[in-house]
Structures are given as C-alpha cells and as structure tokens.
C-alpha cells in the first residue's frame, strides 16, 4: 500500500488552480499594502498573520486528503496489424514471399517488445481478426482496408493501445495512395497514438500485368461499352507492344472473343480502351488476357476474370407465331403493354393453300424473313418465343442448330403449345429438341396431341416456386380447363416441372409435364404444352381476377427466363470472394425453405462445362440460409446451380462467378513503402524496414491501480474554524498597526 496525499479529494483540477490563483492574488495585494505603508512595528506581524490566514482559507476550501493506493506497473499495450490480404503472397525478394517476411517480422516484433503486451491482429476487410499462429498459416483474403482496421481499434471499448504497428507491403485499398496527412489522422479518429509501419518489401518484381480493368459507365445489353484496361511492366521488364484480348465465357461453350488490341507500354505503363458488346443481360464473366513477355515473374496476373453485371435497357424479344389465335392475341397484347419489352413479332397470317382472292399488292402481308432473323439478327434478341409454330414449312428447320447454340450461349427460349408445336411442329429429333426442358423422343406424330380436356395440376415444385407465386396470388391453385395438349415426354435431367397433366403419363410412368423450366448451357428454356394460357386473360375463369392472371403469369415466365432475382428460388454469394487455390465458402439463401430443407449445389466450370463440385446442403434452422464448403477452385469462370429439394425439385437458380489467383490484389505487384511512410509520419510514428525494427520506440508502461482509499487530513469544520481563527488574528494585527 503506497501512501500519498492530494490537495483535495473531490475538487477537480480547474477549481484547484482557481483557488491557487485567488490565494496568490491576495498575497500579492497584501505585500503591496505592507510595502506602501513603509516601516512600522507591526509590519511583520501583519504580513505573517495575513499569509497564514490566506493559506488557512485555501486549505478550508480544498480540504487536503491522504491517499492510500495498491497498484502495479504493467507493460504497455501494443497492437500489431498484420496485412492478411492476397498481395502479401507476392514475392518480397528472390527468395521469400512477403507473407514469409511477415512471419519473421512478427517474431522480431515480439522479441523487440518483450516487455510490452503485444496483440497481433490480421487485417483485410472490415474488422481485424485475432492472428493465431504465423501469418503464413492464415488463409489469404481479398481486400486490404487498413482504415477499417484502425477505425475498429479506435471504436473498441477495451483498453486502448499505446501504439500501433502496421506490417504490410503498402498496397492498401484504404488509405489510398493520394490522401493527405489530415485524412490519415482522421482515420485513427480518437485513437490518438502513433502508428509505426514495417514495410515488407521495397523491390519491384520483374512483371507484366493487367493493372486495372474499368468499365466506363454501366454496361447495357446489345450496346457497345468501353472497357478501359491499364497494363503495367515493372522491375525493368521490357514489354514493348503487348496483345490484350477480351473474351466472354459461356457454360459448355468455347470463350467468345469480344475485343482485342495491341497495347504500347511506355515508361512501364500502357492503356487501351476496348469496345465490347455483350448480348445477354445478367451477370457475365469476361476473361481479359495479356500476352506476357519472357521473364514475367507473376504469370497469374496476366489474366483477369471479371464478373460484369450487364443491365438490360429493354428485353428484346422475338415472338413468332404459326397462326393468329386468341392465345397469340393475349400474349402479344401483354408483351406490347409492357414498356420494358421491345417485341419484334412475326405471325404467319397466310399459308400457301389459303385463297386470299386478291393480288399480292392488295395484301398487307410481308414475307417471313426467317433466314435473316435466325442468322443476322438472332443474337440481338434476349429471348425467342415460338408459339404454335411449325418449323418445317417456313424454313426454320435449317436454323434450329443455330437456335440451339443461341440458347447455349445465354439466350432464352419459350415454346408455347398448339397443333403446330413440339412434335407436331417438327421439332422432334432436331437440335432444338435437346434444348427443350422436356423430351420429344418416342412420340409418334399421329399421337402428338391429346384432345382430352383437362385442368393442369400444380406439382409440389410449382406450389413453392416464386415464378408461379404471382399467378397463384390471383387464381390460387386452380387452372382453367385446357382443351387438350401437345404430348411430350419426361422432363429432362435438371429441368423443373411446375404444371403437370392430371391423368396423362409419360412412358416412364411420370405425370406428363405441362409447364417445365430448364437450363441449357448459359441459357434458359420454357416449355408450355397448352395453347390456352389466354384463358387467364379472357374467359369466365379470368373474370374473377379481371384478366390480370395472364400478365402475372407471363411476366414471371419472362422474368425467370431473364434471371430476374424475384423469381429465383435461391441465391448464392461468396462472402470472402473466391481465390484460386484457396478453400472457398459459398453462402446459400433459399426464398422458401422449411427447417430441414435440402438442396443440391453444383459448380460447373465455364467453357468445358465440367462439374467440379457437387454439394448437398441442408437448411438446418429454417431461416433459409446455409453455407457450403467448395474447397479450392482453379482460376476461371464458374456457374453455381442450386436446386431445392424440399417441396419437389425447384427450378434451378444459376449464378455465375469468377475465381482469380490474385484479383485486384495482384493487379499491381509493386510494394508501396511510400504510403506506409506517409501513414507513420501523419500519426507521429516511424516507418522502418524489417531490419529496422529495433528502432521502434518502446511504449511507456502502464500503472494499474487495484485499490485506492482516500482519508481527510482534518474534518471540514476544523479547516473552517482554523481559517476563521487565523483571519480573526490577522484582523486584530491590522487594527493594532493602524490598518483598516
């Protein structure tokens, strides 16, 4: 127990100073008064009694106390922020990676600050995490946000550190390269401590790389967009002119070259603006490749895989109908009423056997430009609707392979039933038959339609599918009676049946699909085997819903075809991104999933279409969220397909993503010690190299008080009485000396 004393036990420092100032002023005035009066017998008595009176008065106000404390001195607290981003996997020098240097630096820091409580945290994105073990044993992450880490430490409610040491290569997202001292100081906020920095590397690797890929504005389907690409050459590598190629990746298809250009590299930097036009909306994966020169140290950053979200100005849709009917009318009316749909329609109004009783010039008919549509313009459409259309008499048969390829590359296809659709429309045993979500095999032409009336029945998947929810909200689970159907076979593997025939079965014994949704390559297809969806718009059945069910149905169908998130039964995301060669975790969210619901997750590599992972997951707690460990993936584009199993297999949800070796973290491999120096300078810290750690100052130890007791020297009334007595004595002395 240590004993000490204090002027006051309850007054704050400001009051103490005020009391001292008043006492000092009183004494000055007393000295001035005595000096002016000149020599006298009682001068010393007056001065002495006055001094004692003032002191007694001050003590009566302050009331001094004795303090008894039990305390100990502990080492200062120091936070070491270790860069855990992917960039520290780049080489620091010829022998070691920056992450390996981090191991050595952290060890040296612990040695240097042996008497200091060192807490090592790994920072990348958001709040830093406790670093357990060596940096080389930690999983690399994308992002290097030092600002977020410092802000997090400043916000923490536990003991604040006396200093922070940042161990990094300086290649940081935040603070950026061009921020000033004030901005850096603002970063630390109320954390008023020096930030020292240790630079992991200073030498630039001999490397050619794609430093940045930027889109000038948003990218809209069918419209050219400018892709700005910056090329860098460092470490004295001679680059000269380099070829840059941009490809679009597709599932199960070879990449399609969208643009290429030769870039001249001067002074270690080159830039190109490439114009690319993407036809399909939604998330697309672009591969940007640089033909690197010999001697390139990091070949992984010569190729970027970039996910771009292609917006859709309007859905451009080709509507082809074999003959005008109320079903055609209803669909066209809805398509034309939707301002977001740009519909190009071709209806066969006259067959070769029709007798129009008029010359060609008296007719308002135009030739059906089938060759032009399905060769030159096909890629300009987001989706094609074939409604009760016979492929053979109008020359479509020779384009069916092209139409299948169109779907494979991301186009949408809807086949609507009628006497000239499916098998009756001469689609069996064609390339397009393989695209449809239902099989057309083994169905004889003379049994290709079923004339028996029926009401389609919802399947288990249909009851749960978001794509049928809008129409179900209007008409419930009932569907109008259909006057027959095209006959089709089983749903294809991976397809989802939402409506089925209540009595008719396929050869395998399964209920015959009436409405089926499927994926083919990068595109989607819908098969509707009836020609009576117009009864959702205009019929006695439709009257209750005012005919709105038809629009609700087709809006959802087209939305699903165009990957509108509203109609996806599930979604996925990569919380920590995807780094090639590093275990990846995927988060899944199901729109409708009961506790215990299950789902199949399939990961396919774009290009080859090869399935690289198949994971079965369970939504254990019923909140519709779960995660799946995918393990390490190679660099490239991937498609994740989720199929929910709980209430019948749902329509698959597809999500494309890219996996890169280094991504933005490796895009510029140069270390940036200058930025670390700026940070240290702005915060009062010092910047050192790994061999200069001993220069870092030791933070002061902290005294921690375990017990503290305060006792008054005298009771307050005694201080007051003493002051009053001495004031009275001073008054008597003054009177006797003739003072007032």
């Amino acid at each position: 127990m240590i004993e000490s004393w204090a002027f006051s036990g309850d007054l704050e420092r400001g009051w103490l100073l005020l009391a001292a100032a008043l006492a000092f002023g009183s004494l000055v005035m007393l000295v001035f008064e005595v000096m002016r009066r000149g020599p006298s017998a009682g001068r010393l008595l007056v001065a002495g009694s006055g001094l004692l009176a003032v002191l007694a008065l001050v003590l009566a106000v302050l009331r001094p106390v004795r303090v008894f404390e039990r305390s100990s001195t502990v080492g200062a607290r120091l936070v070491v922020l270790v860069d855990a981003s992917r960039s520290v996997d780049l080489p620091a020098d010829a022998a070691r990676s920056r992450r390996a240097v981090e191991d050595a630096v952290l060890e040296e820091l612990r040695r240097h600050f042996a008497d200091v409580r060192v807490r090592a945290l790994a920072f990348s994105q958001g709040e830093p995490s406790l670093l357990e073990g060596k940096p080389t044993s930690a999983a690399p992450t994308l992002g290097s946000d030092l600002t977020a880490a410092l802000e997090s430490i400043a916000r923490a409610t536990d003991e604040q550190p006396q200093a922070v040491v940042v161990v990094s290569d300086g290649r940081l997202e935040r603070p950026g390269p061009d921020v000033g001292d004030a901005t850096i100081r603002a970063t630390t906020g109320r954390l008023q401590v020096p930030v020292h920095t240790v630079s992991l590397a200073t030498a630039e690797p001999r490397d050619a790389h794609i430093r940045s890929v930027r889109l000038a504005g948003s990218i809209v389907a069918h419209q050219p967009a400018r892709l700005e690409i910056e090329i860098g050459c460092t470490g004295g590598l001679g680059c000269g002119e380099q070829l840059v190629t941009v490809r679009e990746l597709h599932l199960g298809e070879a990449p399609v070259i969208r643009a290429s250009s030769v870039v001249r590299v001067d002074g270690g930097r080159g830039a190109a603006a490439l114009e690319v036009t993407l036809d399909r909306a939604g998330r697309r994966i672009l591969e940007i490749e640089l033909d690197s020169p010999d001697g390139d140290a990091i070949p992984e950053n010569d190729r970027r895989f970039v996910a771009v979200d292609v917006a859709r100005d309007r859905v451009r849709l080709l509507h082809v109908a074999g003959r005008p009917t109320y079903d055609v009318r209803a669909l066209r009316t809805w398509l034309k009423s939707d301002a977001s749909v740009d519909v190009v329609a071709f209806f066969i109004l006259r067959t070769r056997t029709d007798d129009v009783v008029a010359s060609q010039e008296e007719l308002a008919l135009i030739p059906f430009p089938v060759d032009e549509l399905f060769t030159k313009h096909l890629s300009s459409f987001d989706a094609v609707v074939l409604q009760d259309f016979d492929a053979e008499p109008y020359g479509l048969s020779i384009h069916l392979r092209r139409l299948a390829d169109y779907v494979k590359q991301g186009g949408g296809l809807i086949m609507v039933g009628g006497p000239n659709a499916f098998v009756s429309g001469n689609y069996a045993q064609t390339a397009l038959a393989e695209v449809l979500p239902v099989s057309l095999r083994g169905i004889p032409p003379d049994a290709a339609v079923d004339l028996a009336a029926f009401s389609p029945a919802l399947t288990r998947a249909g009851r749960r599918a978001p794509v049928l929810e809008p129409v179900a909200s209007l008409v419930g689970e009932r569907w109008p009676e259909m006057p027959g159907t095209n006959v089709v076979g089983d749903a294809r593997e991976g397809a989802t049946v939402l409506l089925e025939h209540p009595r008719r079965h396929t050869k395998t014994g399964a209920a015959m699909p009436v409405l089926a949704l499927g994926e083919y390559g990068s595109g989607r297809t819908i098969a509707l085997t009836v020609d009576g969806s117009h009864m959702l718009q205009f019929s006695s059945f439709a009257a209750d819903s005012g005919g709105r069910a038809h629009g609700a149905f087709w809006d959802a169908m087209l939305g699903w075809l165009m990957r509108d998130p509203r109609f996806e039964p599930a979604s996925v995301e990569l919380p920590r991104g995807c780094i090639a060669g590093v275990p990846t975790t995927m988060a899944l969210r199901a729109m409708f999933a009961d506790e215990g619901a299950e789902a199949d997750l399939e990961i396919q590599r774009m290009g080859s279409g090869k399935t690289v992972r198949q994971v079965h997951v369970t939504f254990a707690d019923g909140n519709g969220r779960t995660t799946a460990d995918l393990g390490p993936l190679e660099a490239g584009g991937y498609t994740a397909t989720v199929r929910l199993d709980r209430q019948g297999r749902s329509a698959p949800s597809r999500h494309d993503f890219a996996c890169e070796a280094g991504g933005d973290e490796w895009a510029d491999p140069r270390p940036d010690p200058t930025r670390l120096e700026s940070i240290a300078q702005a915060t009062g810290g010092i910047a050192v190299a790994p061999d200069g750690i001993t220069k870092l100052p030791q933070p002061r130890a902290t005294r921690v008080v375990a017990e503290r007791r305060v006792e008054a020297w005298l009771p307050a009334w005694m201080w007051t009485a003493l002051a009053a007595a001495l004031m009275g004595g001073h008054w008597v002395a003054r009177r006797r000396d003739g003072l007032s």
Binding site: G322, R323, P324, T325, Y326, D327, V328, R329, R332, T333, K336, V344, A345, F346, F347, I348, L349, R350, T351, T353, D354, D355, V356, V357, A358, E361, E362, L363, A364, L365, I366, D388, D390, E392, P393, G418, P419, N420, S424, N426, V449, D450, L451, A453, M482, P483, G484, T485, D531, G532, H534, M535, Q537, F538, S539, S540, A542, A543, G546, G547
Partner: protein
C-alpha cells in the same frame, strides 16, 4: 411428309369446328381451336337476332379459314350481355335494325367488365338508311364507356391493313367510307359499322346472298368480306400490323396503289 402432317392437323380442326357447328357434344374449343376466331352475336333486352344475319357469322368464319391461316369456329352462336358467358371470349357483334332497348344496369355492368378486360365489340347497323340502331347503340355504349366517344377511323387505322390493304369501309350498303370507333389506351375496342357488314356476308340456305350489295354489287360484297377478314385479324393479332417492321412494306404498297 411433315407438311402433310401439318395440313392434316388443320383438317382435323376443320372437322372439330364442323362438329361444333352441327351441335354435337364435342366441346366448342378443342385443342387448337380454343383460341380460334369466333364471332358471337350479342343479345340485349328482349330482341331476337335476325335469322338471316346469323348466317353471316358462319360465313365470316368460313372466309377467315379459307383466306387466312387463322382457325375459326364455323357455328354461329349468341351470347347475352348480362352474364358471365360474355367474358368467355374477347369478341362479339351487336347488330340491329331499330333503336335498341336501353341496356339494363346488369347489361351495362357486364359490358363494362368486358371492355375493361380488353374485349372488342363490333356494332353493325342492319338498316343504314335509317341509322336508328347505330344512333341508339352509341347512346347505350356511352353508358358503358363514359370516358370514350366514337371517332372516325379510315385507312390510317390498323383495322384497314390487318390483312388486306383497304381504302374504305363498306358493307351491304355503301353509306360511309369510314368506320367509327372508340379507342382506349391506343386500342380500337368498339367499332361502329354504318354499312350493314353482316348483311353483305349473310347467306341463304341455298348458298346465295339474301341481300343485294348496293350500289357496287359483288365487287362491293368482296370488299365487305375483306373488311370482315381484317376485323377478324385485328381481333386475333391486335395491332400487329402497326409494328415498325411492316411499315416500309406497307408504305411501298400504299404508294403503288392508284388513288
């Protein structure tokens, strides 16, 4: 071979439609025919339809089937304006020779629902000389569609180019060269024909024409048939021929026609 199958399908439909016309127990809308063109005669009040003009509806469908790729139901049917069957299909024809009885509140209500759902109504005057039906029908329609009034439509309207390129409207009587219509949200929904279109289409049991086309004779009747076909195609295709892709062709052909 495939083409033969296709034609067989159409023939099959023909049988189905014929069976329906004969009043067999076959459903009116077999597969492929549910969405077929079907002119229904609208009945209001207590008035019964003219028997000879009922035959015009079958003739109308026959001409549509013979001249176009569209299926049509050959059997003439009627539909009352005061009940749910009115909403079964999107097309009806209201014709008469005298001023119609005022629509009941129930008829007005169902007709309003019909129009709101996008139904198309052809109002045809059987006695163009008097014009009392058309005048009365317009008054009654004004109660159904109070926010719309008839406007003249001519060859600028899609109805005049939905299949044939037509310069003028006609019927049994050549009273007006233009039709009138109530256009709602860009869609021609109620068409007023002052020329007795059904009269030009009517057939007697022997296959002859019970009404003479005046003054143009058979040439005028052919034009009336073409207008009927155009109306049918407008009902089935909506404003398809307004699409931009057709514009250059139609402008060229309109330009090549003699004035």
């Amino acid at each position: 071979m495939a083409r033969r199958r296709s034609r067989l399908t159409r023939r099959h439909l023909g049988v189905a439609t014929l069976a329906a016309a004969l009043g067999t127990s076959l459903r009116a809308g077999a597969f492929g025919e549910e969405g077929a063109f079907h002119p229904r005669l609208l009945l209001t009040g207590t008035r019964q339809p003219d028997r000879r003009r009922r035959t015009a509806l079958g003739r109308w469908s026959t001409e549509v089937v013979g001249r176009t790729s569209s299926p049509a139901r050959l059997g003439p049917t009627t539909v009352r304006a005061d009940g749910p069957p009115l909403l079964a299909e999107p097309f009806a024809v209201w014709s008469g020779s005298k001023a119609p009885e005022p629509l009941t509140a129930r008829e007005v209500s169902w007709l309003q629902r019909y129009v709101a759902m996008g139904g198309i109504l052809l109002v045809d005057d059987e006695e163009p000389g008097e014009g009392s039906f058309l005048r009365g029908a317009k008054e009654q329609i004004a109660r159904v569609v109070p926010d719309g009034s008839p406007i003249p439509i001519g060859d600028e309207n899609v109805v005049f180019r939905s299949f044939y390129l037509l310069r003028k409207a006609t019927g049994r009587i050549q009273k007006e060269v233009r039709l009138e219509a109530i256009v709602r949200a860009g869609m021609t929904q109620i068409i007023f024909s002052p020329n007795d279109l059904l009269g030009a289409l009517a057939r007697d049991p022997g296959g002859g024409h019970p009404f003479e086309a005046v003054p143009g004779g058979e040439s005028q009747r052919e034009q009336a048939v073409r207008l009927a076909v155009n109306i049918a195609m407008y009902v089935l295709c909506s404003n398809y021929k307004d699409d931009q892709v057709h514009a250059p062709f139609l402008m060229r052909r309109r330009g090549s026609e003699s004035p």
